[in-house]
Symmetry: C2
């Protein structure tokens, strides 16, 4: 089967991350109007940044290049199905489509927690493995009220 040229580049980036010791075997490119506008590969361990997954790095790179905090009309090509963090980042960036190659089950097979985190996210707060406790909601609500009433805000 022929490989799509953008996915080919995403897979190349995943291989590069692995072979140069930058991080895990994950790569991603962002495409707009048939051109690559952003790229990224995993660099968690080389930059001490647990959020530096391929998709997050590529989204940040594309947004910087496009001078925008949104990726309207863009397509994401990622060498692996996004983990929940990256999927969340994709929803916030709002591209029009996502293509992926390896699956979350494939990631699990080589030792990555994507699948475990997918299981945790929909659980009620009291059932999660990391304890999550509520406090001081009333004080924080005052700031939300201030946001609601702010007239010159930039929404996102």
């Amino acid at each position: 089967m022929e490989t799509n040229m953008f996915m080919k580049r995403a897979i190349e980036l995943s291989k590069m991350a692995l072979q140069t010791g930058k991080g895990g075997p994950f790569g991603c490119v962002i495409v707009k109007d048939g051109k690559i506008v952003g790229e990224g590969h995993n660099q968690v361990t080389s930059t001490n940044d647990p959020t530096a997954h391929a998709e997050v790095v590529a989204i940040r790179n594309a947004c910087k290049n496009l001078n925008s905090f949104q990726l309207e009309g863009c397509e994401v090509y990622t060498s692996c199905e996004p983990c929940p963090m990256c999927l969340g980042a994709i929803y916030w960036a709002r591209p029009s489509k996502v293509y992926f190659a390896n699956t979350r089950e494939d990631a699990k097979q080589i030792g990555f927690d994507d699948s475990f985190i997918y299981d945790e996210i929909p659980l009620s707060i009291s059932h999660r493995k990391i304890p999550m406790l509520s406090m001081n909601r009333n004080q924080a609500l005052l700031v939300f009220e201030e946001w609601k009433n702010k007239s010159d805000k930039t929404e996102y």
Copy 2:
């Protein structure tokens, strides 16, 4: 009710983000052994980075300060229940506990998509609002195989 000093700081940061126009009304601090080791506030719109939520910024800051890609033994104090992206980031960073003030429903009330994204994450790929399509898994699997067989890798 008295406010916990770390949550007080997280709420202060959320207010600062709003009042200085840096981004949405969200703040976060990371604490280890009773001391703040990282801080962040939302800066999505001011830095054109859709991933620059308070928790992601604080996690990156704490990891930089601790020179580690893990937050073992740390506590996260966030002014709002984390969105799925930030919750994913928290799972990857592996702190021991999370405290939050506003809830995802409070965030929805002032116009944030957290609740929508929580609904999307557990859906099967074919039912999501952003189309997600599989391609070229066989090519990408070769890189995963290479990772599995790599002897000198740093796992995370």
